[in-house]
Every structure is written in C-alpha cells, then in structure tokens.
Symmetry: C2
Subunit: 167 residues, 2 copies
Amino acid sequence: MKTPAEPLFTPPPTTHNHQQCVHNALKTAETLCVERGVQLTSIRHQVLELIWESHKAVKAYELLDRIKPLQNAAKPATIYRALDFLITQGLIHRVESLNAFVGCRCSGRQHEQLLLICKQCEEVEERTASQVMQALAEEFQRAGFTAHSKAVEVHGLCQRCAGLSSE
Amino acid sequence: MKTPAEPLFTPPPTTHNHQQCVHNALKTAETLCVERGVQLTSIRHQVLELIWESHKAVKAYELLDRIKPLQNAAKPATIYRALDFLITQGLIHRVESLNAFVGCRCSGRQHEQLLLICKQCEEVEERTASQVMQALAEEFQRAGFTAHSKAVEVHGLCQRCAGLSSE
DNA sequence: TAGAATGAGTTATATTATATCATCTGCTCC
DNA sequence: GGAGCAGATGATATAATATAACTCATTCTA
C-alpha cells in the first residue's frame, strides 16, 4: 500500500538531492501529524508523496490518475479530501492561479508564502519574503483591512530558465 | 440591446455614488478602446456593465445568466471571450482565488494590484500598494526571478464589515 | 471581388470540484 | 462484549468552471 511510487516524472534538473528532499518532507509531515494527533492515513500519505514527486504544481485529476494503481477505488472525492487535509495541516499549498497543488517546504508553520511559478520548467519556488509580508501588513493597516488568508503568486521565469533562454 | 440592466443586485452600502462610478468606468473603457483601435462591441460592453453592477467579484456563469435576457444566443464561450477581451484590455481583473471577475478601477493602466476581498460583503477593493510591489520586485531580484504576471489576493474583512462585527 | 482579420454562433466536451448517503474502523464507556 | 460515537473512506451523482473546433458574418483592403 505504501509503494514508493514509480518515477513517473522527470526529476528537476536542479542539483538538489530530490530523494532526500522528499524524504525530509514526508518525515516532517509524519512527525507533525503525530504531534497534532491527526491521522496521516495511507491515502493522505500517498497523495502527499505523489505531490512531492516534483516541485511542479500538480492537478487534482493528475493525482487521481496516478493514485489509481495504488488505490483502485479512488474517486475525485478521495483526492479532494486528502488535499483538504494536507492543506489544513499546512503540508501543501494550493496554487490558486493554476488550480493545482504543490508541496510546502516550510511544513506546517508559516503558511503564507510568496510562490514563484516558472512558466517554462513549471517549478514552484516558495519564499518567505518577509519584507513583502511586512509591506502587505502595512497596506492592510492603511486600508483598515483584517487579513485572514493570502495568495501571493507570481508567474514568470526562474533563474535557471531565464539563463537558458537568454543564451 | 444596451438595456441598462435591471437592478439584480444590492447596491453596495458604501456612501459612494455607484451610478457615477459605473458611468465613469464605462466611459473610460469606451475611450480606451477607441484610443487603442479595439472594438468594445455590444456584447463586451454588456458584460463589462454587468460586472460593474457591484464591486463584488462575479462568476462567469452568473454573467451568462444575466446576459441571456439581452443576448438570447449567449453561451459560455460568449462570456469567456468577452472576459478574455476585457482582461487583455486591463478593464477587469480575474480573481484567481475565486474564479471570478471584478471591474478594474485603474482601467487599462497598471494592472497588477493588490486585491482585498471581504469575506462578508464580498466586495473587492483594489489597491496599488506600491510598497508591496516594490518589496516584491526586490524579492524577485534576490531570487533571480523574472516576473511576468502577479496575483496578489487577500481574503479577510474590510473596514466596514470588521467594524460592524466587532460592535 | 478575393482574401484576410475579427467577432460571434453553435455544438460538444474537457476540467475542476462538491454534495450526499452508505459503510467501515477504531475507540470509549458502560 | 456491545452500544454509540467520531473520523475516514466508498460510491454515486452532479455541479461549476472552462475550452476546442468548426461555421458563418462582417468589415476592411489590396
């Protein structure tokens, strides 16, 4: 049931050790869920693992297709429920502008980050961007607005892709 | 064909003169389209007008329902094409986190604004927030990211609604 | 007048997401 | 042990959002 999933994706061409990266993310998730007394069930774990296969944002129905070999009975609701759980626990981000989901690197803590989405390699980089958040807070102050949740998403070219295309 | 549309909505309880506000928006749109040599056709004008009926973000299928009395043949594509046009011309914003659309107050110019979305009255306030944009630009610099388009959307309570609920 | 460009009509379908009710599983309390 | 509860999942259906692809009409202009 907890098959490590076939490498259905092209690993990111970055130099980072992705296997380690995924391993950390899953371990952190497991620990956090224990601490919080919530259940990282088999399905939820599998969905999280599938999301972490790459640093690209993944669509819900893509996850559904990929999880079917492991969970024959999987239906849209299966995926959406798992996604809800993972979002609530701060383990993944929903990328609003793509209707897609990406693993959260700062698992479970601060969950409102700047997302930099590369149009070319499609990878999503998450940044804390405290100065941006600070400027936002000041703007809310001026506007008399009480913020509950933020989505700060930027599309463009990541450093690597911009470098390649300008050569 | 250019019926001013029945008041299907509750006008915003703000003190502003909404009729004037809509009038300005439409006039500006008309002028801009002439300047740019693009056609603000009857359908496009109607959709823009419907969007401006309130300061809430409107769903595409809501627009479809509302435009049907005026454009009997209207289909989803009718609306989505008009929306595409209006977005391209910078006359409306797409609110990514709601899959909805709202009139743009800074028509046609700077089109990347901070959107403050009230969970209670549902109105969307648009702010230029140059300090936020500046902080974003600096963050892109640090990340080596080339930004093409931004969505900065915040959900919460507007001043008015926060005031009311805290009384 | 042919042909390109643009907008709109029409039909079909793809994609994304939720509602609802039934069932199962593990736990607690008696 | 069994009743009852809560949380998770199964199963079915359908809602909501969005696009594709082809046609036709209009306008402009070469």
